[in-house]
Amino acid sequence: MTAVWAAVLATAAGCYGLKLAGLVVPPRLLERPLARRFAELVPVALLAALIAVQALTSGQSLQADPARLAGMTAAVAALLARLPFLLVIVAAAATAAVIRLC
């Protein structure tokens, strides 16, 4: 019990510390072109990785869940139709939900 609490608090401290670390890096270090370019591109690369993993895998295996794929297809269609952000995510979730009902 106590050991688990220690693990919970250590995880929380570590996760928070990692977030704070990025915010307190002196701006000067990010002024170099390579560093700035890297910081600009990191969210795109990581979020794209996240999209791929969340859409196409389950646990540690590649898996094409039909409902999830349909939801993502609906999102792409909504984006191509230039729908507002909230409608894009509603279209995606509703499509996945409907397919799971069937």
């Binding site: 990025g22 307190v24 002024e31 390579l34 370019r37 969210p43 690369a45 794209a48 792409v76 979730a93």
Partner: protein
């Protein structure tokens, strides 16, 4: 101090918004709250999984309140469930949080927070807030989007964690409502304008996605995401010359919400 922060932010987001539309200012707030609510509900699944793994309700909630980063929270719960070494579980859960450091590097200049506000802002640096903040056309919208998303998601995620831990998950899973698609669909919508406008962005995104998919079978869950960071570094290296000569172009990249489909 303030000068430094102002300078670096100016570097990042100097591009003017070419097409200010009606209701533009309301969008970061509305979108941030919408995303926060929709993603926060997944806290139900986390709360239920955490208690099912052997964490107490208090421990499940403490992680949501204090760690506030889903992948790490699921990872620690998984270790407890598997009866593995707690120390190793802590290390892997914390390592999973390292992508937030990279996000914070990107957001530091945009948020330009100091003192207590910085300590608070740090808690909110996660996938959703970064995606929402970096999709905005200017710095003011970015900050608004960050705080709106953070506030809503923090409240929803923590309430949903408590509800999930107390058994609310039995009344229908987030997956039944299609909420597992909300995350990837939202992230796609938020990086979409940057993918349309930038070749470097497309290369970084494609590289990151391929690395993640290729490594999923071989490394623990969550790790493939951080392994995508070298894709950003490689593209940054190849295009560094372009960035050096054109601070505005870099700002334009950051502010590619310009062509946002709204």
């Amino acid at each position: 101090m303030a000068d430094q922060a102002g300078t670096s932010a100016a570097h990042q987001e100097t591009a003017p918004d070419p097409a200010p539309g009606p209701g533009r200012a309301a969008t970061p707030v509305r979108d941030g709250i919408g995303l926060g609510l929709a993603v926060g509900v997944s806290g139900l699944a986390y709360g239920a999984a955490a208690v099912g793994s052997g964490l107490s309700t208090g421990q499940a909630c403490a992680l949501s309140l204090l760690a506030f980063t889903g992948a790490s929270q699921f990872a620690l719960a998984g270790t407890v469930a598997a009866g593995g070494s707690l120390a190793a579980g802590v290390v892997s859960a914390v390592l999973l949080g390292s992508r937030n450091t990279l996000y914070a590097l990107r957001l530091a200049g945009t948020l330009a927070v100091r003192g207590p506000a910085r300590l608070l802002a740090a808690m909110g640096v996660i996938d959703e807030t970064t995606a929402m903040a970096t999709a905005q056309p200017d710095r003011a919208s970015s900050r608004t989007a960050f705080w709106a998303t953070f506030g809503t998601l923090y409240l929803t995620w923590n309430l949903a964690t408590l509800a999930g831990a107390l058994g609310a998950g039995r009344f229908g899973s987030p997956q039944d409502m299609g909420l597992d698609v909300v995350g990837p669909a939202a992230f796609l919508a938020l990086i979409w304008p940057r993918l349309r406008n930038g070749r470097a962005e497309r290369a970084a995104a494609a590289g990151g996605a391929l690395i993640a998919l290729a490594t999923v079978p071989f490394v623990p869950p969550g790790v493939p995401i951080i392994l995508a960071a070298p894709a950003a570094l490689a593209v940054a290296w190849v295009t560094r010359g372009r960035a050096a000569g054109a601070a505005d172009a870099a700002g334009g990249g950051a502010a590619a919400g310009d062509g946002a489909p709204r």
